[in-house]
Amino acid sequence: MEIVVTQIFNGLSGGSVLLLVALGLALTFGQMGVINMAHGEFMMAGAYTAYVTQQVLGSAGLSLMVSLPIAFVIGGLLGVVLEMTLLRRMYHRPLDTLLVTWGVSLVLQQLARDVFGTAGVDVAAPSWLSGPVEVLGFSFPRSRLFILVLAIVAVVTLTAVLKLTPLGRRVRATVQNRQLAESSGISTRATDRLTFFIGSGLAGVAGVALTLMGSISSNLGTSYIVDAFLVVVVGGIGQIRGAVIAAFVLGIVQSWIEYSTTASLAKVLVFALIVAFLQARPQGIYVVRSRSLA
């Protein structure tokens, strides 16, 4: 029983990490169709933001919460700069975008090495996130609970923004039919830029959360970018709820296979399952019904 509870929690927790790293991508790749290989480096920027904030503030408890909004803005600004200088010139050339953003990701990695050094840095977890918490006799790591909550808050906020605000309506209109949206008076350029700001900002937030889990170095982005793309593709291009389901399913499947076999085998089997799933359903779990993408 304890194993079942622990593994379900580990699966949900792994899923929430996947969701956080994939959520921004679900917006930029999913909604806008931009393959941004530098998305992982925006996470890295978020993680280093947490590091710098902690160095400046000196207090672990405060710096985590302070660095979340700062990282959102920094990730978002990086995204907007990338969008305005490079991406907007190649919205109809997805393969060129891929190569250009790959180049940008290498530049950002080298920049991080030059500024912060090649060895990893550490962000101390605040004391209220340190160690486990006991619930009904089961112990759960506090930092993982925090990431789970953060992921849920991020999804709910993003969904609310997309569904309820004028901005969200403009984004959805632009995604569904760009020409019609433009002729209705929506500035699709401004909408694209704002969408990219939010998507990249979410990468920054994910980066802060990742400092609770793993290493903070120039490699951080490369460790997560593959998983992030997989979640978005399995979830279905253009759908936030698809990414949510895909992230948690992949998290639970991974932790369940890992528990019964090994970590290496679990990775292989998850890849195999994804390939098989996409053979049967290339469009992913959900698909946007629209004419504009045809």
Binding site: E2, T6, Q7, N10, S13, V17, G33, I35, P94, L95, L98, T118, A119, G120, V121, D122, V123, A124, A125, S130, G131, P132, S139, P141, R142, S143, R144, L212, M213, G214, S215, I216, S217, N219, T222, S223, I225, V226, F229, V233, I237, G238, Q254, S255, E258, Y259, T262, A263, S264, K267, I274, V275, L278, P282, Q283, V287, V288, S290, L293, A294
Partner: protein, 420 residues
Amino acid sequence: MSSPRTRRTAATAVFLSLGLALTACGSRVDSGTATGPAPASCVDTSGSEMKIGFLNSRSGTMAISENTVFDSLQLAADKINGAGGVLGKQLVIIGEDGASEPTVFAEKAEKLIRSDCVAAVFGGWTSSSRKAMLPVFEGNNALLFYPVQYEGLEASKNIFYTGATTNQQIVPGLDYLKQQGATSLFLVGSDYVFPQTANKIIKAYAAANGMEIKGEEYAPLGYTDFATIVAKVRDADADAVFNTLNGDSNVAFFKEYKNLGLTADAMPVLSVSIAEEEVGGIGIDNILGQPVAWNYYQTIDSPANKTFVADFKTVYGPNRVTSDPMEAAYTSLYLWKGMVEKAGSFDVPAVQAAAGGVSFEAPEGTVTVNGDNHHIAKTALIGEIGPDGLIYTVYSSGAPIEPDPFLTGSSYPWATGLGG
């Protein structure tokens, strides 16, 4: 209802992701080099200078570690040059980038030997890079000095191994845990040759010493989510954990270890790949008091080490630390100097013949080259990570341990059948 473009974009992303994941698994290494007689050496001994090659990953995932080795090799060369060089010749460094790719290491080694005509090459880190270079050095009858602890079970007359082999690091680590009263172990490692081989040795040792192995888990290199593995470690409740994880995975592992409330007091984790350089990235809070096994720590209190640390900090800055592989690289250049001077020649066969018994007062203590297996006798030290991020010796083998890469010696009766 899906549009062709959606599908194409999705397919592109999946192939891309798979491609990225696969490149991380390393590339195949072609070992087919010359099998005939070695070509004549092109080393030029006429001038007042002598060329040597430093071959380290200056780019790619291993650059983080290998750049530090390059720095300390450079320091050793500068000091040797300042003191008059080797046989009166000033050393000229040809630096090459192995780029974290075994095939690149093999190519660059060939270039250093054949077109730069260096007298010896220093470098390499991963076992795969060493295995890729081995046929190149044997085919050309050239010399490689390899500075990193490794999994043993190898001895080439063309390679000098100045890091620890298993009986100088892993076996003393186990002796220490046994002395501390551990009767059960949990093995955690990265999924590649060094941890797999190390764990074979550990299991043989445990079987002979009445220790129970409560679990054995491997994570892919670069793995970042240790929730499940650490939960298995916690539930197994062994007396100690033997950790052969490599690189960034250590950070994720120790953060998770602390998150689940496990401590060095309750269940110590003995690591063999965490040195001074790595402690900062893991976070001192996450690893305080955990034991590690090496042959050198920055805190060693000896005149040779104080000079080494002071010189290093003068050149590279007061915040830099010195670690075991860096010290082994530094020592390797001095050992080569000793061999050349004993032979009175830079000629490879003469240097090989002179190698046995060459000794150096290294920062780690006195080390001596074993002429048979080309490893070096060194003292094993178990250290504990202190609050300042440095490592302090808590247990020492006392005297240098003769290298026994195949564990065939009479001290290791339990290791029968492990050797190649």
